[in-house]
């Protein structure tokens, strides 16, 4: 659906009141609206039903290993950056039944479980997250085999992007060339300014939603306000990652001493992979009743940081944290390029913020680059 091509400067202005109607418009079209809301001391993505569910007047302060909600001095609805959740939660659910087996008189009968119909409208997708969705699209959909659950959800999803107007200390989308401005991949894009939003539609579906809302052509001042707000995010980004020849850098430094160094800090707890919007590893578990005659296969998120992730023939291929961290970072930044034609990293900074001990991949990259062999 979101085959966004730039539709030029078709910018319109929505008052906040007009924007508030988007929930009924979306719901009337059968969309389940998912967006930012406050829960458990963070801005998470969950089902939302009205503007009242949005984190009005809140922002997030982020640093390696630290995230805190903070009051803003205004009433902005999207005045935060990114939280612990990502949209993969909804496109690639953490748990899903993929097949069922039943023992009958004639033997086992198998049935692949058809994905449940789901039609999501994602509200508040950031530029780095649009990039992450593009990355996962390349993982799950180009074939020959496709992931039916992802594809069903992706095909039916409406993406309402929101341009960042500020950056967290952990952001580095500019290094990964994924943001902060939303340039493609969305149906609608918003920029929050005083009293309302600059909005533009990039697809017919987006235009249809927009037309159901009361909007005006954006004035020059309003456009400038939007431009200024977006520039503020660019200006705030401090963190950098040098991606020059990064594929070869990593694949020729598989024995770099830095891997031992990071392994002494890394907890191998899986948090970075879980919050990463592109990590896609999963495993399948057998769930059976006591008779063993009805068995479901449940796919769930897994992580290359798990000891038994690489289990083979009675042993684990990657049996220490050094090899597991190396696998993750090398895959994310280097071998991903061989596999899917792009980096697996979109510069959202989640893995930095949500690492309990604050390991910062940009520092690790710099260290490896610093005395590369």
């Amino acid at each position: 659906m979101a085959t966004a091509t730039e539709m030029g400067t078709n910018e319109r202005f929505l008052t906040e009141a007009a924007f508030a109607r988007i929930f009924e418009v979306l719901e009337s079209q059968g969309f389940t609206v998912v967006g930012p809301t406050i829960d458990q001391e963070a801005i998470v993505y969950d089902r939302i039903r009205s503007v009242d569910d949005l984190p009005r007047g809140w922002t997030d302060e982020q640093a390696p290993g630290q995230y805190r909600l903070q009051r803003r001095d205004d009433e902005a609805l999207f005045g935060y950056v990114v939280g612990p959740h990502s949209w993969k939660r909804f496109l690639f659910p953490p748990q899903a039944t993929v097949s069922k087996a039943d023992k009958t008189e004639t033997g086992w009968q198998f049935q692949a479980v058809e994905p449940e119909p789901a039609k999501f409208a994602f509200l508040g997708v950031r530029a780095c997250e649009l990039a992450a969705i593009r990355v996962q699209d390349r993982v799950f959909m180009p074939g020959p085999y496709v992931d039916p659950i992802y594809q069903q959800r992706r095909d039916n999803a409406l993406l309402i992007a929101v341009n960042c107007t500020q950056a967290a200390r952990t952001c580095f989308c500019t290094s990964m060339e994924t943001g902060p401005k939303c340039t493609s991949g969305y149906d609608l894009a918003l920029t929050e300014i005083a009293n309302g939003f600059i909005i533009e539609a990039a697809t017919a579906e987006g235009a249809e939603i927009l037309s159901a809302l009361e909007s005006d052509d954006a004035s020059i001042q309003q456009r400038q306000a939007g431009q200024t707000a977006r520039q503020q995010a660019v200006d705030q980004i401090e963190r950098r990652m040098d991606t020059t020849d990064i594929r070869d850098l990593f694949l020729s430094n598989l024995e770099h001493p830095r891997w031992d160094d990071v392994a002494s800090r890394c907890l191998s707890c899986t948090n970075c992979t879980m919050v990463c919007p592109t990590c896609f590893c999963s495993s399948v578990e057998e769930v059976s009743d006591l008779t063993g005659d009805h068995v479901e296969r449940q796919r769930q998120w897994d992580s290359c940081f798990n000891v038994d992730f690489s289990y083979m023939n009675g042993g684990n291929v990657r049996d220490n944290t050094r090899s597991r961290y190396r696998q993750w970072l090398t895959h994310k930044l280097a071998s991903w390029i061989d596999q899917f034609g792009s980096s697996g990293c979109v510069g959202c900074g989640r893995c930095i913020t949500w690492c309990p001990v604050g390991i910062d991949l940009t520092e690790e990259v710099a260290a490896i680059r610093g005395d590369a062999t």
Binding site: V44, H85, S264, L267
Partner: protein, 263 residues
């Protein structure tokens, strides 16, 4: 006479909670009873059958010399011996005595300490006999228990994950309490199995399932200390229900030793 495999449930120093997990598996209880012959399970039945037992579930730790002898007999009587819970697997909360003066402990609780016959340490079953499988948790998870019984019956390896609690938090959508609230949480080094309940209920994990596979305790306790948690509290956080599990124990003793050497 039934040819079903026999099951024995044996209790040592413990709270009863782990064997209660079997009775708490209401939906599966009658199913389990249909698959195995319950040959020894004092809490559930007055029907007592002598060994040998095909499967023995052992709850509790060893804190008396009588128990140290009793477990030997049970081992001889049992084909497949499974420890259930933190007490049996790592000595339990009562293993706190292992770092203390046990006589002083006894005196403080009992007016007539002479009547008390106890060992100075609380030790895991595996310190006394060979254990075929250890099921972690304080208490154990009833679904894992059913899985273990099922897999032993089927002759396969039980699927009980060894990964950290963090993974389960994230699958559930629980926000990290350590990062978002600065709460001390053992989740990153604790084995999953509980369903990541503590962080989901807004508090830090306190390690009911013992150390995860290859835990990096030094890094985590360093993080606790650098965020201002006093060392004494870090040591206490490791010394609870699985305090005597080797990895937790080594780290709490390391912290204590380095405190002594620096002060």
């Amino acid at each position: 006479m039934s040819s079903k495999p026999t099951l024995g449930v044996f209790k040592f120093a413990s709270c009863d909670g782990c064997q209660l997990s079997l009775l708490a598996a209401e939906d599966h209880l009658l199913g389990v009873a249909a698959e195995v012959e319950i040959a020894y399970f004092l809490e559930a039945t007055s029907h007592i059958q002598p060994g040998p037992y095909d499967i023995a579930l052992i709850e509790g730790s060893i804190i008396t010399s009588h128990d140290a002898e009793r477990i030997q007999q049970i081992r001889r009587d049992s084909k497949f011996l499974i420890t259930i819970g933190a007490c049996a697997t790592s000595g339990g909360i009562q293993a706190l005595r292992n770092w203390a003066d046990c006589n002083e402990f006894v005196r403080s609780v009992y007016a007539t300490p002479d009547y008390i016959s106890t060992l100075a340490t609380s030790t895991a079953i595996a310190d006394h006999v060979q254990v075929d499988f250890e099921l972690r948790g304080c208490p154990i998870n009833q679904y894992q228990l059913i899985e273990v019984i099922q897999s032993v019956l089927a002759g396969r390896r039980p699927r009980t994950p060894v990964h950290s609690v963090c993974l389960d938090c994230k699958r559930r959508g629980t926000v990290c309490v350590m990062v978002a609230q600065g709460t001390t949480c053992l989740g990153p080094v604790t084995q999953a199995g509980c369903g990541a309940i503590c962080p989901t209920y807004n508090r830090g994990c306190y390690g009911c399932y013992g150390p995860a596979a290859q835990p990096n305790l030094v890094s985590l306790t360093g993080q606790f200390e650098s965020s201002g948690v006093p060392r004494e509290q870090v040591v206490d956080s490791l010394r609870n229900f699985n305090g005597y599990a080797p990895e937790f124990r080594a780290e709490s003793e390391r912290l204590e030793a380095s405190r002594e050497s620096t002060t």
